[in-house]
């Protein structure tokens, strides 16, 4: 744990000393909650349709696979026509593409960003590395199986998968969403302790709250 | 005669003044001022002088009845007495000062007493 997250004693302007505990005072401590679908099925269907037609990808290239996403914005592939856009902030994104191998160092950032996205949110694992470690299967500092750490909705296999594969993957994801089966966020909340334990097993310098709101 | 006296008086005064302004020794300055005082006193007396008249002493030589036309003006004579007295007083005071200054600093150089300035 880094120094600035340790408890510290500070002196107020009135000269009274008191303790500041950053993890408690600066971060929300609430655990993630499950959010049920809309009460009316027809409403939830409409919502799922809208969600599937409005996939906002977090612009976070976690590994070498990110290079395969760029062509999607170009005239050749033009993912926009399928309702796919890139957003620079996790708050506004609902799709997280883990693009290729994931080092432990990056995993920490991925977890933080994932947790900062709002429910419902989807994770797509891109490339073999997210499935079984791929060519990094015996690396000491990459994770081998993304699903242990985040609830993955869809894998797009390949090393690397071509942009066409990604487009196909988006279509599959849309189907999953429309069927109401893309409830990864709720899954994460439900199995929060399990995920957290897995994450902490590989991330040794855990220097953040358990859930990053 | 009066003119000679006047001229002498002014000369003495100027000599005294010059001396007071150029000598750096306190005692010399005081002496110079006495010289200047003397010069002024001569001037005063000379101003009161009228040609062909006598001293303003009303005795047998000058009857009181003719006094107005025979004696010189008595007022400057009276004034000069006062002036001399005052001059003596001031000279004495300056000497006292010089003594105390010498006691304090063991020096009579006017240039040594310049700590108050600006």
């Amino acid at each position: 744990m880094r120094d600035e997250l340790q408890k510290r004693v500070v002196k107020g302007p009135d000269g009274v000393e008191f303790e500041v505990e950053p993890l408690k005072d600066y971060y929300c401590e609430a655990p993630p909650a499950e959010h049920p679908p809309a009460y009316l099925k027809i409403v939830e269907d409409l919502f799922n349709w809208a969600r599937s037609q409005s996939l906002w990808i977090l612009g976070f290239g976690t590994g070498c696979g990110a290079i395969e996403m760029r062509p999607l914005m170009t005239p050749r592939f033009d993912a926009y026509r399928y309702g796919v856009q890139w957003r620079p902030t996790p708050r506004q994104s609902n799709l997280f593409i883990i693009s290729g191998y994931l080092s432990v160092k990056t995993l920490k950032r991925v977890i933080r960003s994932y947790e900062q996205m709002q429910n419902p949110k989807y994770v797509v694992g891109l490339g073999s590395c997210t499935i079984n470690g791929g060519m990094y299967w015996d690396s000491y500092n990459t994770i081998k199986r993304l699903d242990d750490y985040l609830p993955v909705d869809l894998y797009i296999a390949g090393c690397m998968p071509r942009p066409e594969a990604l487009l196909a993957g988006f279509e599959t994801l849309k189907h999953i969403i429309r069927e109401g089966k893309a409830e990864g966020a709720n899954l994460y909340a439900r199995n929060f302790d399990w995920y957290k334990a897995n994450q902490k097993k590989v991330i040794h310098d855990w220097d953040m709250p358990d859930y990053n709101w | 005669m009066a003119h000679i006296a006047l001229a002498t008086g002014f000369l003495l005064f100027l000599i005294g003044l010059y001396g007071a302004l150029t000598n750096r020794n306190l005692l010399r300055m005081i002496v110079a001022f006495t010289v200047a005082d003397a010069g002024i006193n001569v001037v005063i007396v000379a101003v009161g002088h009228m040609r062909g008249r006598t001293a303003p002493i009303l005795d047998g030589a000058v009857p009181a009845a003719e006094a107005a036309s025979r004696i010189i003006d008595p007022v400057p004579q009276a004034l000069v007495l006062t002036a001399i007295v005052i001059g003596v007083g001031i000279t004495a005071l300056m000497l006292a000062y010089a003594y105390k200054l010498y006691e304090a600093r063991r020096s009579l150089d006017i240039g040594k007493f310049m700590e108050l300035k600006w």
């Binding site: 929300c28 909650a33 959010h35 049920p36 679908p37 809309a38 409409l46 919502f47 349709w49 809208a50 969600r51 037609q53 409005s54 170009t74 005239p75 033009d78 926009y80 026509r81 309702g83 957003r87 620079p88 902030t89 708050r91 506004q92 609902n94 709002q118 429910n119 419902p120 966020a185 709101w213 | -």
Partner: protein
């Protein structure tokens, strides 16, 4: 005070028309941009999907009261601005709530939403939000000046501050438009217009690659939905003012749509061919190029 209660449904109707038109126009303009880039671009209904999606997000967070109110201020600003200005000239139905005030009210009400949004974004505590706001405020402070001068010039020209009367004075053929009767004012105003549309070269506020989208960084779900709605209304509300002041206003909805679209396209056309100005560059640009035109317009009117 006798108040015509029918004004309320009429105003809501205007709002409905403009919201839908705004959503479609935004998509259309995105599509045009895509076509220029030889892409197909987003579907024309994409903005509806995005809007519903954002309302359908189940969870949300709040950073505090002002953060919560920020989008409300923002959208109130847009709606209010739209309703304080008559949409169609000569139409009692679409004169909206313009009885409340004249041109000056509209001009100052522009800042209502901006200010509220700035406060809300600032409460999120995100440094990018604060940086983005300061950039926006600094840029707009210089960009407003030519607009103010142009408005003043137009008010002097027509000797009125009432939007309706200004439009009335421009009726009877396009040669009566301010565009032709007072071209300098229009030039100054249109340069200022570029600065207020958040498009290149004046988009340093959002600066997506540098301070990920600036003020709204922390906004999401229904907050973002409100802001998206405002994105549909606010530019049009502003353009309506430009249209009324400089381009003869509109008497029917098709004319309204056409003029709004064309005016909007000015900023788009400039935007697609220019890189981004830094803040101090845009301040200098407005002061050096736009303000002298504005000054000339008030001197010569």
């Amino acid at each position: 005070m006798d108040f015509d209660w029918m004004k309320i449904p009429y105003a809501l109707l205007t709002l409905f028309i403009v919201v839908n038109y705004g959503m479609l126009q935004n998509a259309l303009i995105a599509k045009i941009g895509a076509r220029v880039g030889r892409r197909r671009g987003i579907p024309i209904w994409q903005n509806y999907a995005d809007l519903i999606k954002n309302y359908s997000i189940r969870s949300s967070i709040t950073h505090g009261v002002m953060y919560y109110l920020g989008p409300v201020f923002r959208l109130s600003g847009g709606v209010g601005l739209l309703l304080f200005v008559p949409s169609l000239y000569g139409s009692e139905m679409f004169s909206n709530l313009s009885f409340a005030g004249d041109l000056i009210l509209a001009l100052y009400f522009i800042f209502f939403g901006t200010l509220g949004m700035a406060l809300g974004a600032a409460e999120s505590g995100h440094p990018y939000a604060a940086i983005g706001i300061t950039r926006g405020l600094q840029q707009v402070s210089a960009a407003e000046l030519p607009m103010a001068l142009a408005v003043f010039s137009v008010a002097l020209q027509y000797q009125t501050l009432s939007v309706t009367e200004i439009v009335a004075a421009q009726q009877g053929g396009f040669q009566n438009w301010t565009l032709f009767t007072n071209p300098l004012a229009v030039a100054a105003a249109m340069l200022s217009f570029l600065g207020s549309m958040m498009r290149p070269p004046f988009d340093v506020v959002l600066a997506p690659q540098e301070i990920p989208i600036g003020p709204p960084t922390e906004y999401h779900s229904s907050y973002l939905a409100l802001m998206q709605t405002n994105r549909a209304i606010f530019p049009i509300a502003k353009i309506v003012i430009y249209m009324n002041l400089f381009f003869g206003g509109a008497t029917i909805w098709p004319e309204f749509f056409l003029k709004v679209f064309l005016i909007y396209m000015v900023s788009v056309l400039v935007g697609v061919v220019h890189p981004r100005f830094r803040v101090e560059q845009s301040i200098r640009w407005f002061l050096v190029w736009a303000v002298p035109i504005g000054i000339l317009s008030i001197v010569l009117v």
